[in-house]
């Protein structure tokens, strides 16, 4: 059991960054946003909710051309639906790859248009795709690692039980969800 990180760097795949899209930058952001929303739809359709701890543990956001998809809760890699031992994260990883491929295809089209418009002034996109991660990204990753280590030392549910000793942990107030999906 462990934390999971199935983030996808779409920019690296196509050798570009947001700045390369010129006036199509907003369109490129929409493409990434659409990929993120599609992933979230899948996540919420299949992720079981008992305490909500592992659900809330998901970080799902877009950072430039990176789909950041990760969960620091220590048993996130183990979560599965009742009656099926296959970890849900395997399914979500495959879905994330599908959405990333679709996004990459659309982004390549936008890049080509941006390049045509820029004409002779067009930058060499491929050479600019590799870049150092931003400071925020480095710090964000450090905090994610630290959060995962904290959950490894003392489990998420153990923390909840310590925090709310007099309250039932789990399904007491939860709306039962359909587990046959």
């Amino acid at each position: 059991m462990s934390a999971v990180d199935i983030s996808v760097d779409v920019g690296q795949r196509i050798g570009a960054r947001l700045g390369d899209f010129g006036r199509f930058r907003g369109d490129a952001e929409d493409v990434m946003d659409d990929a993120l929303l599609s992933f979230r739809e899948d996540l919420q359709a299949v992720w079981p909710v008992d305490t909500g701890t592992s659900l809330q543990g998901w970080d799902t956001f877009v950072d430039g051309l990176v789909l950041v998809l990760r969960n620091a809760v220590e048993y996130a890699s183990f979560v599965h639906v009742a009656g099926d031992d296959t970890p849900i994260v395997e399914y979500l990883d495959a879905q994330a790859q599908t959405y990333a491929r679709q996004a990459a295809t659309e982004l390549r089209g936008l890049l080509a248009r941006a390049r045509r418009e820029a004409g002779a002034q067009a930058p060499l996109f491929g050479a600019r795709g590799v870049q150092r991660p931003s400071l925020a990204s480095v710090i964000g990753s450090a905090i994610f690692r630290a959060t995962a280590q904290a959950f490894d030392r003392r489990g998420a549910r153990t923390r909840l039980r310590e925090r709310f000793p007099d309250q039932p942990i789990g399904r007491a107030t939860s709306r039962r969800r359909d587990r046959v999906r």
């Binding site: 929409d30 979230r40 739809e41 799902t60 280590q149 107030t173 939860s174």
Partner: protein, 145 residues
């Protein structure tokens, strides 16, 4: 007699500085992580709907994250509304593309509009304010020789 020449190995110094910076970052990150976990417990509570976060589909709950932007810690919730046409037709839920987040409006039944945002702000200020700064200060002092 000859010149006096003292040479430092710049790459070793740089490596030492990088290691120190990494240790510093990891130490602060550990304190921020503890605050983030406690904050999430504050707003989630012991079970879905038992904390400060209204719970129907889990969308609001999983859309929140406490993270770093620039040099700011922040909590952000960008929960998007579902497309009603999908829900009416019984199709799998789809988010309404291009729609604004409803997180700032969210509230428990009977509570005022935006109650969730106000509660989240209180909890955030509590966890990421003086509590974090005093723990981070102690951790930094612990790093000093």
């Amino acid at each position: 007699m000859a010149d006096v020449k003292v040479t430092s190995n710049a790459s070793e110094v740089a490596a030492d500085l990088r290691a120190a910076a990494r240790a510093f970052m990891d130490t602060i990150a550990a304190e921020v992580a503890e605050s983030a976990i406690a904050f999430n417990e504050d707003i989630r509570g012991p079970a879905p709907g038992a904390g400060k976060t209204p719970f129907r589909t889990g969308n609001l709950q999983q859309s929140g994250r406490s993270t770093v932007e620039g040099v700011r810690f922040q909590y952000k919730n960008d929960a998007r509304p579902y497309s009603p046409s999908n829900a009416e037709q019984g199709d799998p839920k789809k988010f309404k593309r291009g729609a604004e987040s409803y997180a700032s409006f969210a509230h428990f039944s009977g509570a005022e509009d935006g109650q969730f945002a106000a509660d989240a702000e209180d909890a955030f200020n509590n966890r990421f304010g003086s509590d974090l700064s005093s723990r981070a200060e102690a951790a930094i002092i612990g790093l000093l020789p």
